[in-house]
Structure formats: C-alpha cells, structure tokens
Amino acid sequence: MKKASLLMIIGPLFLLGLFAFPLWNIMLGAPQYPEPLGMNIHITGIQGVSEFDLQNIDGLNHYIGMKTIPKPGEMWEFNIFPMVIIGMVGLGVLIGLLGFFGKVGYRWFLGWFLLMSILGILGMYDFNVWLTDYGSNLDPHAIIKVVNEDGTPMTYKPPLFGNQKMLNFDVTSLPSTGGYMMFVGMTLTVVASYLGWKSKKSEEKQGSKEAVAA
C-alpha cells in the first residue's frame, strides 16, 4: 500500500505540468505557410506558437468573419481551469498521504481518478463547444462566404482531435506536452488504485489465513 500511496502522491503532481506546458496544440499549414501558424492552448490562455501567430491567424480569419482568438480575460475557463487543477492536485496528494498513513484505501484513489476523468470530459466538452462557436458563429458581413455543396454556409470549426482540411489550410489538433503529462499523471493514479487493490487483497488473504491458523 505504501508503494501505491507514493504513486498516488506523484501522479497528481504531473498535472502541474499544465502550468508550464500547453494542454493542446492546433497547427495551421497552407501552401503559402510553409512554416505553419500555430496555437498552443494552455489552461491559462491561448498563445501563439511563434510570437505573431495569433495576430496572423486573426488576420486571416477576418476574411471569413471569425471572431478574434479570445484573450485570457475574455473566457471564464482560463480563470476556473487553473483553480480546478490546483484543487485536484491538492486533493490527490492529500488522498495519497492519507493512504500512506493507512487512513484511506484504494477506493479513494480510484475515486480521484473518476472525478478527474469527469472534469476532463467536461473540459473537453466545453472546449468543443467553444471551437464550434468560434468556427461557425461568423460575421454575416464576412468578406469571403463559402457554402457547402448542399448550400449551407461552410463552417471553420477546427477538429478537436486529428487532422482536417479547411479551404487552403491543413489543420491538425493534438494534445501537447501539458496534456500528455496530465494523461501520464492520471494513469499513475490508476496504477496506484490497482496496486492498492492488490495489496488489500493480499492483506485479506493473509488475514483469512491467520484467521484459519487461529
């Protein structure tokens, strides 16, 4: 159980990587952009991969009537997400410590993982809602209005995951370093839960053997 508790302490700490590295990354390449433009999505705001990428993406997007990329103050998520992450890291470490001193069991570890997963899915859902709004809530006076074959206006929602061709741009959306660190951290808590469960089982076996012996 001690080993499992140590993992349960270390795992949530990986989430702190989100404060240093982006959660997600979206790259936009096109024939006239041999060096693609890119956005790094941090939990505290959106940043350009190169210094002027956001400005240049906004410059291009104004043709198709997309809103400018939100600044950190313009989205509540960038205030709430860091607090949620800090809270979850604190909670996870606390559970790990309590586990270490035998106060709580592996179910608490698993509970933390499930809570984090739910929050993560909610976050992704929220992110996707924003992407949809960003890509389809277009200025009716847009300079360039492209329609699909069925006559509906073309939307420019970047993919949540993977690659998509949009007009002259190839858009690729993938988790980034911070995101990968979060996945690693969460996986560690699953491992911690498993180890905790295993040691509990062997303890029970031991206990029943002792009981038999008695």
């Binding site: 002027f52 240049n56 410059g59 043709y63 300079i143």
Partner: protein
C-alpha cells in the same frame, strides 16, 4: 514537358561527351563519362536552396545583386548608391539622406568591389562592404536585413577604385584613389600634375560591435594611379598591397603615356606601423567636407552628417611604413594568397604574372637593399622580392583568386580565359576559355585565409551571342566552373545585372539562418509611425499635411481623406502593421513626382505628394498582398487653395 527537358539535356550532355572524346589526347580535360552530368551539378530542384550566396557588384547600376550558386538564380538587387524606385530607396524621405554627399544629392554611382567582413581571416558574414567609384564612397550592407546600413564619403579621393577591401579582422575597410588629384583641391593647370597631385589611401575603421565606419587616417601617396589592393593575411597581416599604374604621372593620353615604364609598382603599406604613429598623435588634421550617412533599423530613417576634418599622413615621415615593389607592365589586380606569403601582380599588358614573396620583401627591407626611391619612398629590387613568374601563355592577366588547395586562378582579358596554376611551382595546370573577355573572377571566400574552393565564377565584359539577343544592349555574362575535381570544368553560364566587377561568395549556411524576416512593429521608433490603426490621423501644419497611415491586409487606414488643397505638400507616412514574413504593402498615388514605396512589415516609409489639380485622386497598394489586394485603395479629395473644407479622414464609414 519536364521529362522532355531532361531528355534534351541528357542528349546534349551525351553529345558533349562525344565531342570531347573526338578531341583525342586533348580529351584529358574531361573528367570521365560517369562524371559529366553538368546539368545535375547546377540543378537546384524546386524548393531546394543553393549552397552559396554570391554578391555581385552592379557596376554602373550602382547596386549589389544577390545570386545563388550553383544555380545562378538572382534573389535580390540591393540598392546601394543608386535610387531604386522598386522599393523607394533614394526617393523616400527616410532614404534620401543615404545618397547625400559633399556634392549634394548624388543618385547614382559605379559600384565595384564587394568584400565580406572577416574574423581571424575567415568570412563571418556580418556585413558586406562595397565602393562607389565615381563619387568616392564606401557602403556597408547589413547581412541580416540585406539593406544598405551606412555610406561614408571619402574626401581627397577620385575614382575610388582600389577599394573596398577589408583587413582580416575587419579592423579597416580600405579605399584607395585611382585618380590622383590636388590635395587639397585647387585651381591649377592640369599639366602641372606631375609632382603636385596626390593619391590618398584611406583606412576606414569599422566598429567591431555595430560596424560603424570612421576614417581613421589617409596616407597621401605620390600622384600615381592606385588601381587595386588586397590585405596581407596570416603572417602578412598588418600590411596592405596596392597596385599602381601611371607612375609616369601623365595627365593626358594615358593609353600611351602611362604605358611607357617597363615596371610600375606594388605599394606595400605597413598599416600597423602607421596606426601606431597615428595613435601616438602623428599625422596632420586637414579641413575636409564629407558626408557620413547612417541608416537606423529602429527609426527606419537615415541621417546624414557632414564631417569637417580628416587626419592625413605623409608616408615619408614614418620610416619603414611604405615600400615600392617594382612590378612589370601596369599591373591591375593585386592579390594575396591564403597563406599571406605571395603577392600577385597581374601585369595587364604582359603575358606573365609576377609573384612577389612576403618573406623576401621583409628580408630585403631588413637588409636595406634598396634600388633608389620615388618621392622619398624606398624602392626594393625587383629580383630581391620576386618569388616567381607564371609563364601563362595567356594575354592580359587581370585578377587572381585561390582555392585553398595551393592553386591559383587568373583571368586573362585579352586571351579570354581562366588559367589555373600552382603556387610555388608556378606551373600551369589547366586553362579554360571564357565567353568573352573575363574581368574579375570569384571563389567563395577567395579573399580570405579559408576559401571554399568548389566553384569559380568568371565575370565577363563581353556577351555577344551567349544568350537570345535583346537589341544592342546586353546583360553581361558569367560562367561557372566546377573546380572540385582538380581541374576546371565549365558547367554553367548565366546573365548578370549591371556590370559585375568583383563579387564575394559565402556558404549559405553562414547567412541564411540569420536573415531577418520582418521588423517588429513594437520596436518602430519612426517619429511618424502609426503603431495601430487607431493612431491613424491627418495633421495640418501650414501647407504641410502629414498623413499617418497604416496598412494591413487588405486596407489603408484612413482610406478617405478630405480637406487637402492645391499647393499643399502632403506627406504619406505609411506604416505596415503586418508581422509576418514576406507580407509587404506598396503605396502609390496618382501624379506623384517620385517613386512608389514598398513597405516591409513593421516599417514606416514616407513620400511627398504635391497635388496640382483639384479633384478626387486615388491611391492604391502596389504589391499583390492578398486575395483582396485589388480592393486595397483609397481617395484623397483635393480642393482649391482657397477652399475652407476642414481636414477629415475615415475608414469604413
């Protein structure tokens, strides 16, 4: 189509092979059947980059052109001494001061000899220098922006030809006069030239941090013609060598009168000694008047300052500072090999090359073995300093470059060829014709301790039938030789712009990563910059109207301006708001008596427009900037001088 081209090239290559084999024992020059795909050697596939940059002087274009080697593709013309309407250089208010001189605004020059900055005798790729020959000037071009950063006028000089060569740590860029003149200038009979005119050799210091130039001293030499020069390097670092002609000091019909002496001189200058003399207070300060023009990447503006004094040095007052090395037949090029030992005098009226030895020169000086003197300057004995003679079999040697493998390559103007020979043994190894009448040649790094001996570029003076004819006036031709195989192989032929005299080449990897992509708008300190569309405005100061205008794809802010009157002087100050690579905007307004502006991202440029007629006049973006470039336009309403319409401006109202 492409496949057909390959096929044709292949067949041509095959035909060439057959021809060279047909030449029987002369076929030694070809390097074998498997190695003969010249097309492949110069082929840089679409999207691939060249191995070298080549900076070719523009000659009478006054500029400097940038090429790639081996492809021969031209990348840019850098405006230096000439107005350049393409970008507005010399037309815009910011760049007019670059062309200021003591003679006023001089919008043209004859640019000759580019040389790239060095550290420890090796190319460092910080700056490239080039001389203006006609109105003596030296320019420094920044190799991050590929723009002219500074121009300094050279007083007491005329025909700034033995320039602009740098010492091996870029301590100095050196400028020598081709025409001797009265110093100071004076109203005197021309026939009194002999003994009265002077030849000024200027040592212009280069600040190691920012490259700023400053004339440290001028050596006032006898009134010969100082034709070309090169620095000593390695063991001869600290010396500079100049060829001279017209040691006869003729003032008319030089064609004949300056060709009488069997030998002219190479002047060997111990500049370290003169520098020490000057640092200890030596020399004479002389009144002068010359322009020093500096461009700032922060204000995007040049300033011109007139300098009123120059320090001159009488070489006879510094024992051991200057010696003459007799050199046959009006030598033209003066070239120093990578080791610094050999000084080559290219006697242009002879068949042979004279090679002097630096070690022998020092021994002769220490032994005081002089053969008289000229105007107080000791003349060394020809035999005492001679290292050897190259019996070339060619005619009219002009210039020599080196490959760093112990070989030298000399151009012969009259016999129209490049001759490859071996340093030390003086034997001729190979010779190849040029098309036609070659002047300079260039090996990347050829004027340094470390040449990159892969290619020779020959710059020819006569083109004739090399390309499709274009009427009487033709571009000059250049030939590219592969020298990596121990012999010379002609592999390519391409036209060049203006009249390239010398050129300087450098491996692309030393420059390309440092090339600037755009100027940061946040760093723009131009007094009339518009740093955001919200700051766009129009301000009247009497008859002057200043329009602070911003550009971004695809509109001007403002694009409707009213309240301008006939007789006003309208300043369009255009700031490009873009912050991306290769997104310039242009600006032109109908009837402007000047050029367009081509404004790089983050930059501000200004032109003056003086409307002469009442009406509504358009302006537009001249650079196809975006899909909506054609929409990037605006109007200025011009009212009669007596009108009382208030200034107003707008966008999108």
């Amino acid at each position: 189509m492409k496949r057909n081209t390959y096929l044709v090239l292949g067949l041509l290559g095959f035909a060439a092979l057959l021809t060279s084999c047909g030449n029987g024992n002369q076929g030694k020059g070809s390097s074998g059947a498997l190695n003969s795909s010249n097309a492949e050697k110069v082929y840089v596939a679409p999207g691939e980059h060249d191995e070298f940059y080549a900076f070719m002087s523009g000659g009478y274009s006054g500029n400097l052109t940038v090429y790639g080697l081996p492809s021969g593709r031209m990348f840019k013309e850098i405006p230096v001494f000439s107005q350049f309407p393409t970008s507005g250089y010399g037309y815009s208010e910011e760049t007019k001061p670059m062309l200021n001189t003591s003679f006023g605004f001089v919008p043209w020059d004859d640019s000759h000899h580019p040389d790239i900055s060095q550290t420890n005798g090796e190319l460092d790729g910080r700056w490239i220098f080039i001389n203006g020959n006609n109105t003596p000037r030296i320019a420094r071009i920044d190799l991050q922006t590929f723009e002219t950063a500074e121009i300094i006028e050279v007083p007491n000089s005329a025909g700034n030809h033995s320039s602009s060569f740098i010492t091996e740590n870029t301590e100095y860029v050196v400028a020598g006069t081709r025409f001797s003149v009265p110093v100071p200038q004076a109203d005197m009979p021309i026939k009194d030239y002999k003994g009265n005119f002077k030849g000024a050799l200027s040592f212009i210091s280069v600040d190691p941090e920012d490259g700023r130039m400053d004339i440290k001293f001028q050596i006032l030499m006898p009134g010969f013609n100082y034709d070309l020069s090169h620095p000593g390097r390695g063991k001869s670092h600290g010396w500079f060598f100049f060829t001279t002609y017209n040691t006869e000091e003729a003032n008319t019909l030089l064609e004949v009168n300056a060709s009488q002496n069997d030998k002219d001189f190479i002047a060997a200058i111990n500049w370290k000694k003169i520098e020490e003399y000057v640092n200890n207070g030596g020399g004479t300060k002389m009144p002068a008047n010359y322009a020093h023009n500096v461009y700032s990447d922060e204000t995007h503006t040049a300033t011109s300052t007139m300098v009123k004094e120059v320090l001159t040095v009488d070489p006879t007052k510094i024992p051991g500072a200057v010696f003459f090395l007799p050199t046959p037949k009006s030598p033209h090029g003066c070239d120093v090999d990578p080791s610094g030992e050999y000084i080559i005098g290219n006697g242009k009226l002879s068949a042979d090359l004279t090679v002097h030895s630096f070690d022998k020169m020092i021994a002769a000086i220490e032994g005081k073995k002089f053969d008289g003197e000229a105007y107080g300057i000791p003349i060394l004995k020809f035999e005492d300093v001679l290292a050897g003679t190259v019996k070339s079999g060619g005619l009219g040697p002009l210039h020599t470059e080196f490959d760093g493998e112990g070989n030298a390559y000399t151009t012969f103007f009259i016999s129209s060829e490049v001759v490859m020979w071996k340093l030390g043994t003086w034997e001729v190894i190979d010779r190849k014709p040029t098309y036609y009448s070659v002047g300079h040649l260039m090996i990347p790094g050829g004027n340094s301790r470390k040449p990159f001996g892969k290619y020779v570029v020959a710059m020819n003076k006569i083109t004739k039938d090399r390309y499709l004819p274009t009427g009487p006036e033709l571009e000059h031709s250049a030939q590219l030789y592969d020298i990596s195989g121990g012999k010379m192989e002609l592999i390519y032929d391409f036209p060049t712009h203006g009249e390239p005299h010398y050129a300087a080449g450098i491996p692309a990897e030393l420059l390309a990563p440092k090339s600037k992509k755009f100027y940061k708008l946040a760093d723009n300190k131009h007094p009339y910059a518009t740093l955001g569309a919200a700051d766009a405005k129009v301000v009247r100061e009497g008859k002057d109207v200043h329009i602070y205008m911003s550009t971004i794809r695809s509109h001007f802010t403002p694009d409707n301006i009213e309240g301008v009157k006939v007789g006003d002087k309208v300043y369009f100050h255009i700031t490009n708001q873009e912050q991306d690579f290769d997104v310039p905007h242009g600006f032109a307004v109908i009837g402007a008596n000047t050029s367009e502006l081509l404004v790089m991202p983050g930059q501000t440029k200004t032109i003056i427009w003086e409307p002469k007629q009442v009406g509504v006049w358009p302006f537009y973006c001249t650079d196809f900037c975006s899909a909506l470039h054609q929409e990037m336009q605006g109007y200025v309403r011009v009212s009669p001088a007596s009108s009382n319409i208030e200034l107003s401006w707008s966008l999108g109202d």
